[in-house]
Amino acid sequence: MALLEVRNLQARVEDKEILRGLDLTVKAGEVHAIMGPNGSGKSTLSYVLAGKSDYEVTGGTATLEGEDLLELEPDERAAKGLFLAFQYPIEIPGVASMTFLRTAVNAVRKKRGDEELSTPDFLRFVREKAKELNIHQDMLKRPVNVGFSGGEKKRNEILQMSLLEPKMCVLDETDSGLDIDALKIVADGVNRLRAKNRGFLVITHYQRLLDHIVPDVVHVMAKGKIVRTGGPELAHELEAKGYAAYENAA
């Protein structure tokens, strides 16, 4: 059984059709990249999978390990193991990052039927993961994403990803706004999380991220559909030739 199975998915925002019959299958252990021109619906796909309320699904299915995702609340999807690394992580004033992480970890653990982590266990867990991502303790004391640099925000997303131990990770333009050093740290963080029982969907506009997170499968998305699928070499081809060929393809 595929980890993530998307069939003929159609969705719109207000009156605008954005996804127009998208098919996608990600097996456990695989890393898929979705590339495509601006406005092709890449971010919409990530929001629809995560259950953002402004997006209305008008047709098709999406399942995680065979379970209908579209029927679930956003937090239930998270508990089932779907994680979305946001392109623009949200600031939460007044809430210390550490508090946020702990609340999230325990909320998810509880929904999965696991014991909540004790404070010392949690702190150990966070410190270990934070260190791998070069995140300072000071950053965890600051309010969630408030005043964080672009790099700090993205590293914080990957930290959350590693703490919540998801099955299916969707990264929405995680490379945007990152310099090369920050990009490496983030990519290393993702690579460390690659595992036999975990799938990745890496959404990006540029090939450069895929030099660091090498995908098994590359898809080209245009006008709300997957229009081409290939291996890692497809990313290089796109980098060389651009998206012009796909702008009018679908």
């Binding site: 995560a50 953002k52 609340e73 937090d75 949200i90 939460i92 210390a96 309010p143 959350q160």
Partner: protein, 492 residues
Amino acid sequence: MPAVQETVERVKSIDVDQYKYGFETKIESDRAPKGLDESTVRFISAKKNEPEWLLEWRLEAFRRWKTMSEPDWARVKINPIDYQDLYYYSAPKTTAGPKSLAEVDPELLKTYEKLGIPLREQEMLAGVAVEGRSKVAVDAVFDSVSVVTTFQEELKKAGVIFGSISEAVKNHPELVRKYLGSVVPVTDNFFATLNSAVFSDGSFVYIPKGVRCPMELSTYFRINERNTGQFERTLIIADEGAYVSYLEGCTAPQRDENQLHAAVVELVALEGAEIKYSTVQNWYPGDSAGKGGIYNFVTKRGDCRGNNSKISWTQVETGSAITWKYPSCILRGDNSQGEFYSIAISNGHQQVDSGTKMIHLGKNTSSRIISKGIAAGVSQNTYRGQVSAHRKASNARNFTNCDSLLIGDKCGAHTTPYIEAKNSSAVFEHEATTSKISDEMLFYCRQRGLSAEEAVALVVNGFVKDVLQHLPMEFAVEAQKLIAISLEGSVG
């Protein structure tokens, strides 16, 4: 378990109308006939065996009250109150002076148990001081008459007087006579004047010179008798160099009728004294259609009468259908300080008009106001504050920060500051923000596994953190839970 999750579980365990304190205790009452005239005032005074001077004081207030009309400047809509349709005195019959817990009506003890006040309940009702834990003495006010007074011995050793104001009238008439009405004059305002005429009971605290009160003092108010106006009168005096921290927590059973609560709290801080007054208020706010609920029209004022004195108000207001409340400081003494930390939450059909007054009279006085208003549902939440410097109040300083948080798009938050400086050396700062819990923020939290309620609780607790940290520890934990409970159902 983190407070947020615990909160959510508590919220889920609440049934009808989200109000967990809506039960009624069956105790026989001894009450004055319905309505208000001079004979009611005399009835109350006689019931309490009051001295002649106090009866006269009440009667003067009553005569004055008849000439006054309700204030109409607050941003609240009030259904007309029929003052002749209320009972002005009600006492549980079993309270002919219980000397120990064993004599207390078990129904009363059960009521407090249901309130679910953990630590304090065990200690106060059992009267046991647990080693190593902060002790809290409780003068439990059931409707109008104090029934349980604990920790008396230890307080007595320190010379602290803590008990009901009725007892104080008997045992310390010189103190009561000297200070009663000296901060909130009999003629102050409609509700305070009404209170002066008919106050039933309340707490009295006196901390002698140089004494640091050995424990936090606490009172639970509870309105239980149907149609009983609640007219508490509290008087706290910190003599020179004294310190006291006083906690007040309120809950009330569910009612269909609106219940009027017009309390008066007076604080007097003499030279070098400090009073910290904290309130968590969770009276019945009315049902989801806006029916019922408490009218909370309270006059709270502190007088920094001596030089170098300090008064600090901290409040968490989550309940009541209508809140009209402005705990204030008169900074009379030179170098005196006033503080006001407030969290006011309105949900459903609640209306809140609350804030503070900082009246700078002495030299080098300073004040600080941190107000956090949270509006959800179709509620209206107004901060109203006055900061003024008298002509002679040189070097007066004030810092005001007033933030509003909106949840949903049918509620309102309003900020009405009055700032008046008659001395050119005054420095007054005012900051205000209004923000909204956005769908983006909620979605982000929910993508990380938090339910909608957990997400709101987390964001709101972040918003109010600056104020929560000014509450005594165990109160802060309770307040945090209360905040989440109050906002249950505000999203989704």
